[in-house]
Symmetry: C3
């Protein structure tokens, strides 16, 4: 891509162009360390500023303040695109230069498509995929090898399933949503009544609805609802190995990192960010914009957006052993504090009275 | 289904029928909120009592105390089935009304079945399933699309595998057990000896035995034993994304929620309940009937059944930072408490002596 | 196998042979409890010494100290192989006696292999496997049923993929590495820029490189790098359900137990051991030889190898409730301690002055 074309396309993100004229072509994005002279790189975190000295990148996206504090020689060594958010410009350029080939439309010979399924002629169904009756596969959808699509499930325009995704019956996946290998959408929620010690299964008759422009990571599971649907909003990003239980609702543009678990009927707001391995209990709600840190456990509703944490800080094992004993004796320590206070006050009043 | 037939069938669970005569037919179960006049609903948790006012459900299962405190108009607006456990009655009715079609018996053209496998003629083997030599597939078993069944593995009568389940060689799955997509049964346990820093694999020659009437969630993994089998009892329910290591034993009717991990050779009793993301260390035992709460870590045997917990309570991040610093200084706080006690006692005895 | 042959083969590990002459043949390894007279067993943990009395094993690997403290009758009841590390000798013998059959080379009729893929004639490609253009499958590789291998991915000599493994495009798996069912290698890393609240995907253009002699557990996921590769060293052992994020690097001979999560760009050294369900944050490094205990969270770099822990110790729920309240009030307790100290000191100086 010509640098001039790139500048023209993303002009709205670029404040100005500085430095050398740069390469005529930008062929790829790369790290400052590894970039060649026909590659595009960026400086988002000032702590990597040293990388600017040695980089061979032909074009670098950078903030005004970072550019201005460069030595003059560095300022003229390559083209700089000054912008408020270099990482965002990098993302946009990377998407433009990405060349992952889209499979051609059509049903591969080894795919097994029920005659009552509806496949748009522009959709691509790879070898070994199995598609049940009543399923609707929209325009430009990619169904990877060995995926399974249940009865009456709908994949809207542009959905991309990598190989080995399973979607049970009666689910709906919104336009342009990407789902990675091993993900399972619409398995039964974990619901049982107890009859004198034995578990009686509640048939899970709801479905799963996933919005547009979502991405679902590898081996992530999203269960179907018990009676009503499990609902994932638009633009939601779920990393790998996440478990979303039945009847959860997740608002638009929320992002959940790897290994997060969300229990049944939790209502997660919009633009919520949940770090890896955090767990959210069921039947609670989390306010829009809340941020939960790594491996924290949310046990009651969060009404006020903010940044919440809750993990034991790592210690050398022998130190942890002491802390672990004492945290279980906190009530005794508190009682002793109270006794000391009472006795000291008594003593002071006695002393004061002297 | 006729309401009268439903009452006849579940009479043992129903104390009495109250209110309006109700619809002739009950076609489906639903929530109080969403139910229509030919649908069945229930009130299990009194906090949802307000839902009773607006519901259009034709029949509602309810406890005597909840019914008696309804206004008279509400008591006569629909049929009420008075019972001790409305949720259990709901489960039984839901199972009765559930209409998930069972696949017809037979081997789909795209399935690959070794000629030395034994397939009951009433079993259904879907497209793309791969079944190895010596496997035995019992009566009325459903093997979903793209499942793999290893050498000499046995699926007893009525087992139901959703698409894309893998069971390694030499395992046994008990009658009527359900396994969801992506589950892997019988992969090698994680066992190595260490030879001067390098890991030497211990061949895992045990198998996995799963009892009757179990349910195994999506993407859950149960490893084969090192020498003896890994054993899951009857009626055990495992949610999604659970990891069961080699030589674990789980007693009948236990239930483990999503993302739980159980390390090697742990012995979990009967009717144990483990909440989501809890972790159980290896080579320990847990008494029958124990309950472990969310994300707790069990590091030693539990001999006395009870309800156990152990997670850091969520805090606003800036509060957590203070707590996290101080929990590591608990020994210093304890020492200071002791010093204060000693000094205060000394002072008191001096004061007392005055 | 003749016992004499076995002793000859592993002579370097054996200090001496004691006791009865033992069976002519050793056919299998087993536990002390279950072993028959033609089976090999071992005593690694002295706490299982009682097992020696009742065992019927024909040959037992044992430490000198454990042998010497046996009663004389027990010492002569069977053959003992005296060695420094009975568990290691057991591992070596078990590998020798393991008879898991290796599939014959060749491409099964139901496999789908792109004509531009390169398959070594000694490799075995099972039914339903799907191999894309440019993939290179080396000598003696086993590709299990229903695996998917992406464009240009390389499996070196002797790699063994169990059924239903997916490897995306452009990855490389080192010689003799074993990967279990459900594992996903090379899915996109979790990388987005944020544009006014919406997430903009960063194309993930790096790959995954896994070294030689590794083992990857069932349903484990290893994401491809954002720009550079995610790198797993030689001899690394990953258990089930592990999540390795983009651009992580793991040094040779490290071992991670089930359900561990490692966030992006973390650099884990050599011979690091991480217990189950621990979580490692991104952009940090962990020194060679570090040991992290179960469910601990590593939030900053560890420069000094050692044994680190950080989990709330399990408590009876009602005790935990008290501790959980108080851990959030640690700053108030600390303040009260300081007040008491100040006031006590003041009182002492007053008293002392009297």
């Amino acid at each position: 891509m010509l640098l001039t074309d790139l500048i023209a396309r993303f002009g709205a993100l670029i404040e100005s162009v500085e430095g050398a004229e740069g390469p005529k072509h930008v062929v790829r994005v790369n790290t400052l360390e590894a970039a060649a002279s026909d590659e595009f790189s960026f400086l988002a975190n000032p702590k990597y500023r040293n990388g600017l000295v040695a980089t061979r990148a032909g074009v670098v996206a950078i903030r005004r303040t970072d550019f201005d504090t460069l030595e003059q020689a560095a300022q003229t060594a390559r083209a700089f695109l000054i912008c408020r958010d270099p990482y965002l410009l990098f993302a946009r350029v990377a998407q433009t230069l990405d060349v992952q080939p889209r499979p051609q439309g059509g049903i591969a010979p080894g795919a097994v498509v029920d005659r009552d399924a509806h496949i748009d002629p522009t959709a691509s169904i790879a070898s070994g995929a199995v598609i049940d009756a009543g399923a609707k596969i929209g325009a430009n959808v990619v169904v990877g090898a060995l995926c399974t699509i249940g009865r009456d499930t709908v994949l809207e325009e542009g959905v991309w399933l990598y190989p080995r995704v399973s979607i049970y019956h009666g689910c709906r996946i919104g336009a342009r949503t990407i789902i990675h290998s091993g993900a399972v959408i619409g398995a039964d929620g974990f619901g049982y009544a107890n009859d004198a010690g034995r578990w009686i299964k509640i048939p899970q008759t709801g479905g799963v609805r996933i919005g547009e422009d979502c991405e679902i990571g590898a081996n992530t599971t999203i269960d179907r609802g018990a009676l009503q649907d499990t609902v994932i909003g638009n633009g939601v990003k779920l990393d790998n190995q996440i478990q979303i239980a039945h009847n959860v609702s997740i608002g638009d543009d929320s992002a959940l990192a790897g290994c997060v678990g969300v229990a049944g009927s939790a209502v997660i707001g919009k633009r919520v960010q949940i770090a890896g391995a955090a767990n959210i209990l069921g039947h609670l709600s989390i306010a829009d914009g809340t941020v939960i840190s790594v491996a924290s456990v949310v046990t009651s509703s969060i009404d006020k957006p903010g940044f919440y944490s809750g993990t034991w800080p790592l210690q050398a094992h022998e130190d942890w052993e002491k802390s672990a004993v004492l945290v279980r004796r906190l009530d005794k320590m508190r009682d002793e504090l109270r006794s000391l206070r009472t006795e000291l006050n008594a003593l002071k009043s006695t002393s004061g009275g002297q």
